[in-house]
Symmetry: C2
C-alpha cells in the first residue's frame, strides 16, 4: 500500500466508525425527542467536514507496529478524532479565533449558532471518553483506562486546552509582550503537539509496547507535532485560501508572533527539514516496519493544505 492508500483506508475506517458512534440511535436510543436531532447534526457537522484524519492514521499505524489490525485501533482513532473536532468547533467560536470557514465549509457556530457549537463541542469531548470506555476499544479495562488517562492529560489544561489558552493570552491580552521562539514552541507543543503525541502513544498502549517503544513513539510524535506547526505557520504565510481551505495570512494581519515571523521563512524551512530528521531518527528501533509513519512525517512536512 502506498502512503496515500494508507491514509485513505485509515480515513474510511475512522469515518465509518464515527458514523456508527454519531448515529442518533446510538446516542439517543430508540425514541429520542425530535428536537434532539439538531445537536447531533451539529456534532456530525463538526466531525464530517472533510478532515484528512492524520491523527487516526497515526493511531492505526502505531498500533500496526505491534501487530494490531486497523479494526482493533479504530475506536481509539475515532475517539481521538472526536477530541480534535471538538477543539476546532470551540476554537472557531467568535469569542476565540472567530473563524467562519474551516476546510472550505462554514464552521459549526456559523452553520448553527454559538450555543449549539459550544454544546456540540462539549458533547463530542464527553463522547470521546465514553467511546474509550467501551469494550470495543480494547477488551482489557486496564488498557482502556490507560488510554483515557493519556488522552485526558494530552487534551486538558496541561495540554491542548492549556496551549489554546496560552495562544489566546498572547493574541488577546498581549501576554507575554514579546513571545520568544522557545515560548511559542512550548505553547505549540501543548496546543497541537500533545494530541499528536497521544496519537502515536495510543498504538503503544493498545499494543502493550515496552517502555522504550512507547518512548520512541512519543519522541516521534513530539517532533511530528513541531513539524506540523512550522508547516502550518508556513502555509499561513505563503499559502492561498483556495488551496488551504481556510483564511490565510491571518497571523501577519493580526501581527501575531509565530515561528515564521520570528525566524523568517528560510530558517523555518531549515528547521522543518531538521525536525523531520529528528522524527525519523526516533523510529530507528522499529526498522522498516515504521515506514508508513516516516511517510506520515513526510506528508506533514510537505502538505499544501
Amino acid at each position: 500500500m502506498t502512503f496515500a492508500q494508507s491514509l485513505t483506508a485509515a480515513a474510511r475506517l475512522t469515518e465509518a466508525t464515527l458514523d456508527g458512534i454519531l448515529s442518533e440511535r446510538s446516542i439517543s436510543g430508540e425514541a429520542p425527542e425530535p428536537q434532539a436531532g439538531r445537536l447531533i447534526a451539529a456534532m456530525r457537522h463538526a466531525v464530517f467536514g472533510g478532515g484528512k484524519r492524520v491523527r487516526p492514521l497515526l493511531v492505526i499505524e502505531s498500533a500496526a507496529l505491534f501487530g494490531l489490525p486497523p479494526q482493533d485501533a479504530a475506536h481509539t482513532a475515532a475517539a481521538l478524532e472526536l477530541v480534535h473536532c471538538y477543539s476546532l468547533a470551540h476554537d472557531d467560536l467568535p469569542a476565540m479565533d472567530n473563524d467562519e470557514l474551516r476546510r472550505g465549509q462554514p464552521t459549526v457556530w456559523k452553520a448553527y449558532d454559538e450555543w449549539t457549537a459550544i454544546l456540540a463541542g462539549d458533547g463530542l469531548l464527553t463522547l470521546a471518553f465514553e467511546v474509550l470506555g467501551r469494550a470495543e476499544t480494547h477488551s482489557d479495562p486496564a488498557v482502556r483506562v490507560a488510554l483515557i488517562s493519556a488522552l485526558a492529560r494530552a487534551s486538558g489544561a496541561a495540554g491542548m486546552v492549556g496551549g489554546q489558552a496560552l495562544d489566546l493570552m498572547a493574541d488577546k491580552r498581549g501576554d507575554p509582550a514579546s513571545p520568544t521562539i522557545d515560548y511559542i514552541r512550548r505553547l505549540q507543543a501543548m496546543k497541537t503537539g500533545a494530541l499528536l503525541v497521544f496519537a502515536c502513544e495510543a498504538g503503544a498502549i493498545l499494543g502493550r509496547a515496552t517502555d522504550a517503544e512507547r518512548r520512541a513513539l512519543a519522541d516521534f510524535g513530539t517532533a511530528l507535532g513541531f513539524a506540523f506547526q512550522i508547516a502550518d505557520d508556513l502555509l499561513d504565510a505563503e499559502g492561498d485560501a483556495a488551496t488551504v481551505g481556510k483564511a490565510v495570512a491571518k497571523d501577519a494581519a493580526a501581527n501575531k508572533a509565530t515561528l515564521v515571523s520570528l525566524m523568517g521563512i528560510q530558517k523555518a524551512r531549515a528547521m522543518l527539514v531538521e525536525t523531520e530528521a529528528t522524527a525519523n531518527a526516533a523510529l530507528n528501533i522499529f526498522g522498516s516496519r515504521a515506514d508508513i509513519l516516516r511517510e506520515a512525517a513526510r506528508f506533514v512536512v510537505d502538505r499544501k493544505s
Copy 2:
C-alpha cells in the same frame, strides 16, 4: 451525625480533594509558564464558588451503604463536581443563559472573559475523566472504567448536554412551540436528573453493589432529580434574589414554560411531596442505613437557595 454535619463533612472532604486536584503544580507540573496560571485560576473560580456539594454528598453516602469510608469515594465525588461546575461555567455564557451572577459571585465569563470561561469549562470536563482514571479513585481499573462510562453517558448528548440543548431549543428557537409537562420532565431528566442519578449510582459502582441495589439507587436519583427541578422552578417563581443567590423570576420574565407555569404553584407543591415519597420508597431495600439519603431528599425538597 446530623444531616447538616454530613453535608458539611462531605463538602469539606470534596473541596480538600478538589484543592489538590486543581493545584497549579498538580495540573502543570514543576515549571509551568507564568501565563498558564490564569486558566487554572479561572477553573478554580468555577469550582470554589460556594456550592452546596449535594452531588458529592450523594456519592459519599451511596458508597457508605456498601461500607466504603468517605475517603474512598472522595475522588469520584470530586470528579462529578468538576463536571457539574464545568456545566455551570458554560451554561452561564452570554451565548447560552447569559448569567452574570452565580451563588452571589460573578460568573466565570464575567470575572474573566468568554474565551477563558469556555476553555476553563473544557479543562474541567477533561480533568474529571483524568481524575476518574487515577488509581486513587479505585484500585480496580474495571471499576474506574465503569465510573467513566456512566459519567460520560450521564453528562453527554444523551444526558446533561442534550438536556441543555433541548432547553435552549425551547428558549431561543421556540421549538417545540408549546412544551408539555411530560416534555419538560424528560428534558429536565436529561439536563439535571442524569447527573444526580450518576451521583447515586456511583456509590453502587464503587461498592460493587448488586443489580437490584444499583437499580434502587438509580430510581432514588431519578426521583431526586425531579424533586430538585420542581424545587428549582418554585424558587425561581417565589424566591428572592438575596436568598437564592442568583437572579429570580427569570422564567416568568422570559415567558418560559416550566413545570410551575404549566401546573401552577399548588399542583407543583403537591407533586414535590409525592416525588419525595417516591424517592424514599426506592430506598426501602437499604432500611435505616439509607437515612442520610432520605434526609438529602428532604433537603432538596426544602431548600431555600
